[in-house]
Assembly symmetry: C2
Homo-oligomer: 237 residues x 2
């Protein structure tokens, strides 16, 4: 950084310069042990026929803000009503879209696979393992990569992977969600201590999960105060 | 989240709906032990005469992307050439600007006060302590609050406050920068161990800092590989 005198008067009126604004959403779920991202087949140019992230223009007449636009896009294009959703970052510039200079406010969202049967069957929709993605149009590969980095780093310090589980889950199911996100096995004893430290779970009284060859396991759910808010781990997993 | 069939065909062409796009920058420095933010007096409506964050429209003809627009705004309006700068979040909607539905890509930037003498003297510019800000127009108070939260949480786990120091600094000066950001005193021994753990500093050979009543202290600088990249602390301060 070098010293330089301001090159023109402060705050002379200018513009406006309207710009194309879109939202793009990385919607993630966990299915058969794999973290999967929703892709939709594009029906029109640019990149007609390519698989891409759900997205669309912001509708100023309809959307309160960009977050509302992201929820509208998920509802309209993926049938997903209100998953956990966070702003990821904004991607912008002349190079990212052949239609011209554009701004894409990107979000990432998590949804349990148990809530997605209606979507699975639709044509033009695919849930692909994040390890087996095709070449993506625009800068969607970079957006997905950024979302996975955010999900992984945040999962080290919070309850975020809970939103990949259904409303009720066992501790082994929750541990499997953390392991799928982080891409590594976790120690069971240490994992359970960290979940206790976060204090976000409560047992579902009187209900046990009876699955497979194991004895019935306790089911848990999020305490009401954590259903829309993350619980944080100051020292990480 | 409930199941719902998508309400319209996927990817029917629509729009475009051009939107006003701006960048806003929270430029922070450290002066006389206080964290300060740059405000500029607005010369024209809306909010003429109010003190606000440096910002401006994105210029699609001139800016490669929003980040380039943020650097251009800092250079033109604050004379700041290339401080450490990161995207913060995007603020959007109908309510935030009386001119209409808008998208503001917000950035935060850090600069050592030693590099700012040319700016200090200019009319229409003030560096205010973050604890003594006036009422700000638009959603600038929320943008500043978000920037301070980000700066504080990131400083717990990285070398970020280094960018508030000059090119060369002593360990007590660096500790003072961390303390000003975090708003608390740090233990000297533990602080120095953490700085060693991050391995981003190198002594400036043959140069000592002689200030005040203390004996000359070793000067340090960032190793070249950390001059534009943060060093991370996996377990925090």
């Amino acid at each position: 950084m070098a010293r330089a005198a301001p090159s023109r008067p402060v705050d002379v009126p200018e513009g406006p310069y309207p710009v194309l604004c879109t939202v793009d959403v990385v919607l993630l779920t966990l299915d058969a042990g794999a973290l999967r991202v929703l892709l939709l087949r594009r029906d029109h140019p640019p990149y007609a026929g390519a698989w891409a992230l759900p997205g669309g223009y912001i509708h100023p007449e309809e959307d309160v803000d960009a977050r509302a636009a992201a929820f509208r896009v998920l509802r309209a294009k993926a049938g997903a009503e209100s998953p956990y959703l966070e702003q990821l970052a904004t991607f912008s510039g002349l190079a990212r879209d052949p239609r011209g200079w554009s701004v894409a406010v990107a979000y990432y969202a998590l949804v349990p696979s148990s809530l997605l049967p209606a979507c699975e069957a639709l044509p033009g929709m695919r849930w692909l393992s994040v390890d087996e993605l095709p070449v993506l149009p625009f800068d969607h590969a970079e957006i997905v990569r950024t979302a996975l980095e955010r999900l992984r780093s945040k999962s080290m310090y919070s309850s975020l992977p809970v939103y990949l589980c259904g409303e009720r889950f066992t501790l082994p199911q929750l541990q499997a969600a953390y392991e799928a996100v982080l891409g590594e096995k976790l120690n069971k004893v240490s994992f359970r201590r960290k979940m206790e430290e976060m204090a976000m779970l409560e047992p579902v009284e009187g209900v046990l999960h009876s699955g497979g060859a194991h004895r019935p396991a306790q089911l848990y759910q999020l305490k009401p105060s954590y259903r829309r808010n993350l619980s944080l781990l100051p020292r990480g997993l």
